[in-house]
Symmetry: C2
Subunit: 274 residues, 2 copies
């Protein structure tokens, strides 16, 4: 459980790692975030995560200071040093240090090993509650460090005994704060395709569902979500997790649905043998 | 020109100041920003800045760890240590350190003395060029650390030989990246009142203009801006600065207008005697 941080070429203890206060991630919110986990000591879907990391860097116009092979070596060193079969890895790439709080000559890259904060096992049966929030993320297709709305809403989420927030805007839902949303209508699996971050577990789930269900990637109205047979969310740490309450509305049967369970079993099988 | 940073109770050299990488400002973009300058060694409009700082903290739900009187003492110490009559002071308040990258027990407050980066004197005559960008800030009324769009657009601003970016959405303009916008139509001074951060220099300018011009705080369409007699921007470091180009459009006479000059003279007079 000793975690470490790679910072611009060096690996040290995560507790000691620091950045100077002129970092543009801190001063200007100018930073990229990515996050994945290992199963059996191996990074899950590394190629897909790397692809997304590079895409986010390009869209944020942050120069990427590390090649894929080198990054993989760092990740494997961090996993080994953690002493854990399963750990999480966080990438943070910022605009770097700046003398005038705007311009910078080189980015700062942090790669951090962390504990995984798993979902409580009973939530895979009962599902989670989310609160609805009228909002769509700025640059939704980019995984930036901008989670301020989720942070601001912490008190509301706790007060409602909920686990997360569901973003919706102009009658359409998009995503939770850090995960994607799917619904089942009969045998059709539907998930939004715009105004979202295209999660790696979303992609994994779509691949697993193929051949089993009819699949639609398209806008989902809030009403459609409320009337869906089953609703679930996907993320690196949640895998396939039922959503059974939105504010005071009960979704579907109020517990995990049969088809959600089927997909959860498929993904559990996949990661077991990763 | 030696600058310093107050960090949770201690003052040290700004070059040495750092935060641990578990800071939520860095990891989650969860941070407040405020900024003011001194004239003749005295913080300009301190009461108004403090009011805004407290308001931003409240809206971001960040607990404010310092009282006004104590903060003023820190600011005066930083000014004295800088050895400069005129310097800038930056407040950064973040969500604090977090073990799970979400929850935190106490915020981190940084108060930093900095050099002022003044506008080039000739720009008060020629005015500046801005590029138009279809966007409205998220939580515009809060001065957060979220400047990622401005950072992403740096290359475009430079390529266009412009100084800044003008945000507009659905036909209405709002603000530049870090400053407010005013236009003159005849003897009427107009400035947007929604989707903006209400700047302290905006407030100062409105107070100075009273009695001299008819004043309207209301939405301004993009077309209205392009057809205005005079356009200018206001900020702590810019004071009253003409805008004379938006992309390829020349605004007004293409140089500082008579009424803008009048307001610039008024504010220059005010700060001279501050």
């Amino acid at each position: 459980m000793a975690h470490h941080c790679y910072f611009n070429g060096k690996i040290g203890s995560v507790e000691q790692a620091s950045v100077y206060i002129t970092d543009l991630g801190l001063l200007r919110g100018y930073g990229l975030f990515d996050y994945f986990r290992t199963y059996n000591g191996r990074p899950f879907q590394w190629d897909w995560y790397w692809e997304r990391y590079e895409r986010s860097a390009r869209l944020l116009r942050l120069p990427n200071p590390i090649q894929k092979g080198e990054a993989y070596k760092v990740v494997m060193q961090l996993i080994e040093k953690s002493g854990l079969g399963d750990c999480a890895i966080r990438f943070i790439l910022t605009g770097g240090y700046s003398a005038d709080s705007v311009s910078s000559t080189s980015p700062n890259l942090l790669i951090i090993s962390e504990d995984i904060h798993p979902v409580k096992p009973e939530e895979y049966l009962t599902g989670i509650k989310v609160i609805a929030y009228d909002f769509v993320r700025d640059l939704p297709e980019v995984k930036s460090t901008d989670y301020k709305h989720f942070m601001i809403l912490q008190q509301d989420i706790k007060a409602a005994k909920a686990s997360d927030v569901l973003f919706h805007k102009n009658g359409y839902i998009s995503e939770l704060s850090r995960s994607n949303v799917f619904i089942f209508k009969g045998d059709t699996l539907i998930t939004p395709d715009t105004d979202i971050l295209k999660g790696i577990t979303r992609r994994t789930t779509l691949a697993l569902a193929e051949g089993h269900f009819k699949i639609e990637e398209r806008g989902i109205t809030f009403t459609e979500l409320l009337e869906a047979d089953e609703v679930f969310t996907t993320s690196t740490t949640k895998r396939v997790l039922p959503i059974t309450r939105v504010d005071d509305h009960v979704l579907g049967s109020g517990k995990i649905g049969e088809k959600t369970q089927f997909l959860l079993d498929l993904i559990n099988e996949k990661v077991k043998n990763w």
